[in-house]
Symmetry: C2
Subunit: 315 residues, 2 copies
């Protein structure tokens, strides 16, 4: 029987653990997921992760490495999850534990950076050298590949594109900064802005208010109501699109990318968000930098982080 060299990638989330097995060409051979059940504590979660990996491995697989994508603050050198509030973890030596179990190199990576790398290497950014990945949903996650390398920075914390200031006279973000892109262009911000506008102009928000049915307005309500002609919803989405365009102009000026991979729930609203965004980029960006930049949707779905984590350690 021929042995196949394989690379494991794990996306360790607050709700689910996702595992993928890739071959040397980055092709997914197998995948599986399980619940995180973080409330049980770190050790049971690690055990479930180990079982999940074993489930995915076939007898002919020769495991080469394990990459783990996760939120929180990482000490990648030591393989330690320093703090992860979504897991309730504090100083968990995850790399060491997995390394002991499987006897292979283990690498931990910030989840947004891992997803960016996955989309760049085998997804929507494939074939480029300079790719910016942004996912606008509850918050804004992102990662940057420049010259074919993931931009990590000092502590592997580079790429916080959701927390660049687009209005220095704006409101304060939860991160402490002022007027962050995330305050204007995330799904959360679209819901919040529509709520504000609906309070001011309830006569222009009849469809939206009916959709929400008295509960908190979400970006999904706003998207659905806008599609039915709700004025307040259309405005909230247009404003978010323009803000996103502003943020992208700054990022294009800094990184000079070939492609922007733009995903997440907010991006899935489509043209009502993307058209004003593109208009702002065309109007405001330096032409030699914005000209020819492709803005595309991600193609790897929820597996992007696990795939990127596997490829980063394989690299």
């Amino acid at each position: 029987m021929m042995n196949t060299k394989v690379y494991v990638g794990i996306d360790l989330g607050g709700t689910k653990i996702l595992a993928v097995i890739l071959d040397e060409n980055g092709v997914t051979l197998n995948k599986a997921e399980t619940s995180t059940n973080a409330h049980e504590g770190a050790e049971p979660v690690i055990q479930r992760m180990i079982e999940l990996i074993k489930t995915c491995l076939e007898p002919e697989h020769q495991l080469a490495s394990i990459g783990v994508a996760t939120a929180g603050t990482l000490n990648s050198k030591e393989g330690i999850v320093a703090t992860a509030s979504n897991l309730g973890w504090d100083q968990v030596p995850l790399g060491k534990r997995l390394g002991q179990e499987f006897g292979v190199p283990v690498n931990l990576e910030n989840d947004a950076n891992a997803a960016a790398y996955g989309e760049w290497a085998v997804g929507a950014g494939r074939g480029t050298q300079n790719c910016v990945y942004i996912t606008a949903s509850t918050g804004i996650g992102s990662g940057i590949i420049s010259g074919g390398k993931l931009i990590r920075g000092r502590d592997s914390s580079a790429g916080e594109l959701g927390h660049i200031t687009i209005d220095m006279n704006g409101p304060r973000c939860l991160c402490g900064n002022i007027g962050c892109l995330e305050l204007y262009a995330s799904g959360t911000s679209i819901g919040r802005r529509a709520q504000e506008l609906a309070s001011q102009f309830p006569e222009k928000a009849a469809v939206l208010l009916e959709k929400a049915g008295g509960s908190a307005i979400t970006s999904r309500h706003v998207a659905e109501a806008a599609a039915l002609g709700d004025e307040v919803s259309a405005q909230a989405i247009e404003e978010a699109g323009k803000a996103l365009g502003n943020g992208l102009v700054s990022i294009i000026h800094i990184m000079n990318p070939e492609v922007i991979v733009l995903g997440g729930g907010a991006a899935s609203i489509g043209a009502p968000l993307l058209e004003p965004m593109k208009q702002v980029i065309a109007e405001r960006g330096i032409y030699s930098l914005t000209n020819g930049v492709r803005i595309v949707s991600p193609t790897l779905g929820k597996e992007a982080g696990a795939i990127g984590a596997a490829l980063l350690v394989a690299e």
Copy 2:
């Protein structure tokens, strides 16, 4: 006689051409400069550049490569200066000409990127892997080194940090974008803002108006007047410092650098500009990213671009 392998770096500016000769350790062995006299046309400028290089070379020097730093749009692959408005050049095959003359590889690089690389490699950013270089004078020039590599992007045009939006409701910049950092934190902007404030509150700008003596107010007038207690001047500098702090927070969030090399005429104003800047960074930045970031002055002076250009091709 022992041969010494040497690397030539040229800074081709609108006013002067500066040449440096470096050894393999990046130590400057020789340097010289001459006037550009761009009005004479491209060929005489290239001839002067060739003569300047020959002046600097000693008999024992074994020339390995030539790097040229210049403003304008470059086609580095082909060695062509596509457009350089400060030289009046259009599609000049500078790389080919120098290559023919000296028979060595020639590399063209954006001047701000070259200066950034020089300061990183052998100047104020030495010993780090992640360095942001910003020079705030007439405009804002900048370049980024991440993971020990110069960030070039698709067209070697990355690092336009002066043209990131810090106020999406602000005025339009000459670049076409809105509310650019350069509009608030360059030397030009300090002069312009002081002029505005002096028109509104002449009673608080007596020292400044005397310094300027009826001519246009420059950042130098503002700095001198502020040192003598001029209120309007102090305010203009404080505002610029805060704006610069805002821009730096965004850049720190994106790049997660270890060090920021901050130079130029505006930065040389010192504490009245730098203290409000640092306060904004401390107040607004994400602590894990801003904590420990050193902000230092450049050490290579006007030779940074030539040195960086030499080292980039040597690399």
